[in-house]
Amino acid sequence: MAEVTMKVNGKAVTKSVKGNTLMTDFLRDELRLTGTHVGCDTSQCGACNIHVNGSLVKACTMFAAEADGAEVSTIEGQSAADGTLNVIQQAFQDHHGLQCGFCTPGMVMAAASLLKENPKPSEAEVRDYLEGNICRCTGYHNIVKAILAASGQDVSAIAAE
């Protein structure tokens, strides 16, 4: 066991963790932040995407001990304290960017990273950036549309599917 200290969604936490505790298990089981989903647990699906020191990472493929001293953001930290959705979350709702919602936390975290690096991405750039995020419901179309809308681009010409 080793003690780790990190900031999660702005709040300092200190816990004892085992060497083999994954970030997903730490967030979900220790901190009860169950918005970070475990879809595949094999680094394929991106449902567990979080930000560590501002970078998008798959929480299932990082140990909690490696996040010692880091600033971590999860889906729970994306909306305002009163529950008001951020611009990306709102766009997912407005453009029907989810069906079952299981992949959505990872999609929103990936979209946030993309728009930070590239505030006005093209459709091709959005699709390329989502390479590591799998959705089994939507066919991606409305997810891409929602992210383009969240970037402030006009999506009215993109047909709903």
Partner: protein, 263 residues
């Protein structure tokens, strides 16, 4: 996963000493090792995380003109910071896996693992890079010794990788769409003393140099120069994604595309 301890040294010296423990294993970005641990294909007693070592981070141009990349530098950092110095290498780094994988995976980890379908081994061999460890410097030609096999000794750490910057270079990857590894990929680099061609994803023996193509491209650096050349598929990887003969064919196609990309 089996249980193990984790240590996070902040210097190469401390990491080397931690790796001296019984059944210790180095952990870099973990994008291959962590899935391996989950499958219980490895059972270290202690993982020595290399991600907290500042001296193994970063990209810089040395006085000699070579590009030096710290062993713990992520693919995303190479993609961003090497772009102005060695664009073909930066482009290769920016095409590994997906954005989240690129934010964790490192050049040292990739070269130490030497996956037969990984991208970085092709860049290192194709550039005639030097693998710098805590004890010595190893030429890429001596470093790669077959699938998942390298010249690294037990407990040896890749601290940096030094790339001579070519006059022109290109990388063409035929992507396996699910894993985004190379089904077959070719790295081509043109130096004053000749052209180097390195192939990944094809051979049962891991990354290799295609010497016939090197000779042809050294006298005429154009896609047409390799038009008449072919490789045998007998020693190539054959799986559900492609036969050995198919991969052998792809080597020719990807070589032409890599030369065209080098411009």
């Amino acid at each position: 996963m089996y249980s193990f301890d984790m240590v996070r040294p902040t210097s190469v010296a401390d990491a080397v000493s931690a790796l001296g423990q019984e059944e210790a294993q180095a952990l870099s970005g973990g994008q291959t090792l962590i899935p391996t641990l989950k499958q219980r294909l490895a059972s270290p007693s202690v993982l020595v995380s290399l991600t907290g070592i500042a001296e193994m981070q970063g990209v810089c141009r040395e006085d000699s003109g070579d590009l030096a990349i710290g062993g713990g530098t992520t693919h995303a950092t190479v993609a961003a910071e090497a772009a102005s110095i060695y664009p073909a290498l930066a482009k290769l780094a920016g095409g590994i896996g997906d954005p989240a994988v690129r934010n964790r995976g490192t050049i040292g980890g990739s070269l130490a693992n030497n996956d037969p379908s990984a991208c970085y081994p092709a860049a290192a061999l194709g550039s005639g890079a030097t693998i710098v460890t805590n004890t010595r410097e190893i030429a890429a030609d001596d470093y790669f010794q077959g699938m998942f096999t390298t010249a690294l000794e037990e407990g040896e750490i890749i601290t940096s990788v030094r790339f001579p910057v070519p006059e022109a270079a290109g990388y063409a990857k035929f992507e396996q769409p699910a894993s985004r590894f190379a089904l077959t990929a070719v790295y081509v680099a043109k130096y004053a003393d000749g052209v180097r061609v390195a192939v990944t994803g094809a051979s049962e023996n891991g990354v290799f140099r295609w010497t016939e193509a090197e000779a042809a491209l050294s006298s005429n650096f154009s896609p047409d120069a390799v038009a008449g050349l072919s490789l045998s598929g007998d020693d190539m990887i054959s799986d559900l994604h492609g036969t050995g003969a198919y991969r052998a064919h792809l080597v020719g196609v990807m070589t032409k595309r890599a030369v065209a990309a080098a411009g």
